[in-house]
Amino acid sequence: MLEVKNLSKSYDGKKNACDSINLVIEPGDIYGFIGHNGAGKTTLLKSIAGIIDFDQGDVIIDNHSIKTEPLAAKKLFAYIPDNPDIYESLTGSQYLDFIADVFQVDLQKRARLIEKYATMFEIIGALNNPISSYSHGMKQKLVLISALIHEPKIMLLDEPFVGLDPKASFMIKEVFKEMCDQGSLIFFSTHVLEVAEKLCNKVAIIKNGKIVANGTTESILKDNSLESVFMELIKES
């Protein structure tokens, strides 16, 4: 389980990029996180992943605080940023080997999972090439594979569908569903409201660092589309 408790983060000491955020995401959830540009989505995701420090509150990942037990917490999740800036000096397979080493994935398992996902995302033939020669989409796929090969219980993703081709987008959604069926949880930010509406069982909407709505997708939507709910909430608050 992932629990965000009263989390606040300010970059300049004046305005909060995230303001007293509380969220509970349970195993099996595909939780969509929606907001306008600069609303605080990336800040929240980076705070949860322990990439940036936050001023107040805590993030609890399966009873481990990201502040006090960062290593134990980080072993449980995979984080995928909005921009796949990865080590260009390595080849695709060297990068995957590095991530597998960090998570101590044994040789057989890493070979099986790398080949499974690299085949699925159609980059198996490029894994021996340097990452510097990859397109944006290929890098995005490689980061996704690196996240999947250690079978994390929690996936934190920042705009995961940007840059992916339609087939890869479809495949990753299927993978998410499969993971959630097995008890993992997915927490991702997106601008694509349609994806959130169709894929997520829960959604949260953030505006100016504050959560303005969250809950099951049905309870948020009622009989409306997510787009109209989102536009209404953005106007209201």
Partner: protein, 536 residues
């Protein structure tokens, strides 16, 4: 108009304080003061040591009415710096600039963009020239007496000198990049060729030297005679400034300013082509079977560092120069025993040193030139999110970077000491002492480098050159390494009479180990706190 606007943006991108320091130092006064002091120290050390030598040389030359030789020094150093900077930067600034994708779709003339880019590159050259030639110019004007016409002609010449080497070596740099890019492992070949060019230049310049002069700079004089004979602009510059010869200045101006303008017109199309080529993405399949290898975390982290090191030529060439020098001297000492001993004596420039100490000084400087630990954290750049989000302790990350720095310098140092030990018949006890001291230098300089980079990381950069050559980490890292050697020198100097050479060296080594212990503990204790604060 567009040129000035572009230039303003490029200068902001390249020369802002934030860019140099990697952080807004105004927000941290303590850091700003500390940095200011360190930079002042580095400049001070350079200006006083280099400055004193040239001041002394000026005095000698004045006696022989040869003060214009100082101008030859300015010319030769300026040319060498222009060659070095052009070789390393022309590719990134002219032929494959990172912001090509931003600039290409804008309604701008290629020539205007190119001119602005070239101006930025020349600004780098002039900054380097100013710093290196300031003590020489000071000595010249002090001894010859200040004269406004000489000064104006000097400044004009100063601006003109880099033009020809820039034009020639921009093409050399492009040619090397183009030829090597046709091969698999192009980066490695490029690095090897660049090393060959640099070392070739070094050997060539020393091959003209005269051994046994009092001032080590006198020994460089040999090169000027050859250069003046074949490269007339050197005499024109000297005659223009020293004799106020208008014709010489006109020759200098015409032969430098005009080709530079022609160069801009000539390479406009080429620049578009090379930049477009740089955007290509390899989508072909590599049918080599995939191989996986399981490694312990620390080994995996160190290998990641090694792969980064060998894949970025500017990083390899700058931080790998020390090991290359050590290996070359070690191997060559077996073949050219006396010549190498003379060569090392000239490099060190101190008379009456035993061969053991001479070897130790050269090895020490070569180890101090390995400064990956002072910049490798910065080189994580935009990929820093990876290690921050992974279950890896910040201490492990810093330790891996430190270990890599030691592995890059120490084995080569040991090998070079052994080879030179055989060549110069150094006794076993002295050899063991020297290896121990080399270990201590490697440990201490690596730990200081880690400490510096942890406190002054620079994650925002357009290309690695900014970190490897221009960052605070690089500057302080190298000078701190040299500082360790100065301390060792002082210890050995004062302890040698009482303790003898080997024990005095060991005492220096012990001081280094203490420095290593202090800085390592500072790095390990501060890593968690500082990593949490670093932006990713």
């Amino acid at each position: 108009m567009t040129y000035w606007k572009l230039l303003k943006i490029f200068f902001k991108e390249n020369f802002s304080f934030n860019r140099f320091f990697g952080t807004d130092i105004r927000k941290n006064k303590k850091k700003a003061i500390l940095l200011g002091l360190v930079i002042l120290y580095a400049f001070g050390v350079f200006l006083f040591s280099f400055g004193y030598m040239f001041f002394d040389l000026g005095k000698i030359l004045k006696e022989f009415d040869m003060l214009d030789t100082l101008l030859a020094f300015v010319f030769v150093y300026a040319t060498a710096i222009a060659i070095m900077i052009t070789l390393f930067r022309a590719n990134g600034y002219l032929f494959r600039f990172k912001d090509y994708e931003i600039l290409a779709p804008l309604p701008l003339k290629t020539r205007t963009v190119l001119f602005a880019k070239l101006t930025v590159m020349m600004a780098f050259i002039y900054m380097g020239l100013f710093f290196i030639t300031l003590p020489i110019a000071f000595s010249y004007f002090w001894h010859s007496g200040f004269n406004i016409i000489s000064l104006l002609l000097y400044l004009a010449g100063f601006l003109l000198i880099p033009a020809i080497p820039l034009i020639i070596f921009a093409f050399v740099s492009l040619l090397i990049a183009r030829i090597t890019s046709r091969f698999r492992g192009a980066n490695y070949i490029y690095t090897i060729v660049m090393f060959a060019v640099l070392i070739g230049g070094m050997v060539w310049s020393f091959s003209f030297s005269f051994a046994g002069e009092d001032n080590p700079l006198l020994s460089q004089g040999g090169i000027f005679g050859v250069l003046e004979e074949y490269y007339l602009p050197l005499s024109w510059f000297k005659d223009a400034v020293h004799l106020h010869d208008p014709l010489a200045f006109i020759f200098l101006f015409l032969t430098h300013a005009l080709p530079l303008v022609g160069f801009i017109f000539l390479i406009s199309r080429l620049v578009v082509k090379t930049n477009q080529k740089g955007l290509s993405v390899v989508t072909g399949k590599n049918k080599k079977p995939l191989k996986y290898r399981e490694r312990p975390l620390m080994e995996s982290l160190v290998i990641k560092e090694a792969r980064k090191f060998i894949s970025v030529p500017i990083y390899t060439i700058n931080s790998g120069f020390g090991p290359i020098i050590m290996i070359l001297l070690g191997v060559l000492s077996l073949i050219f025993k006396t010549k190498i001993a003379d060569f090392m004596g000239e490099m060190v420039g101190i008379e009456a040193l035993s061969i053991d100490l001479l070897v130790m000084i050269i090895i020490g400087f070569s180890i101090a030139m390995v400064y990956t630990s002072a910049i490798s954290l910065s080189l994580e750049g935009k990929s820093f999110w990876i290690v921050k989000s992974l279950p890896i302790k910040p201490q492990s990350i810093m330790l891996a970077k430190l270990i890599f720095n030691i592995l890059l310098g120490l084995p080569f140092a040991v090998l070079a000491i052994l080879l030179m030990g055989i060549a110069f018949e150094i006794n076993v006890f002295s050899l063991m002492t020297m290896i121990g001291v080399a270990l201590s230098i490697s440990l201490s300089t690596s730990a200081i480098g880690s400490f510096i980079n942890l406190h002054f990381p620079k994650f925002e950069f357009m290309n690695e050159t900014e970190v490897v050559k221009q960052s605070v980490g690089a500057l302080i890292g190298v000078f701190a390494g040299f500082g360790i050697l100065v301390i060792d020198g002082v210890i050995v100097y004062f302890a040698m009479d009482q303790l003898g050479q080997n024990l005095a060296l060991l005492l220096g080594g012990l001081a280094n180990i203490a420095v290593f212990g202090i800085f390592l503990s500072l790095v390990l204790s501060a890593s968690d706190r500082l990593f949490a604060k670093m932006k990713a």
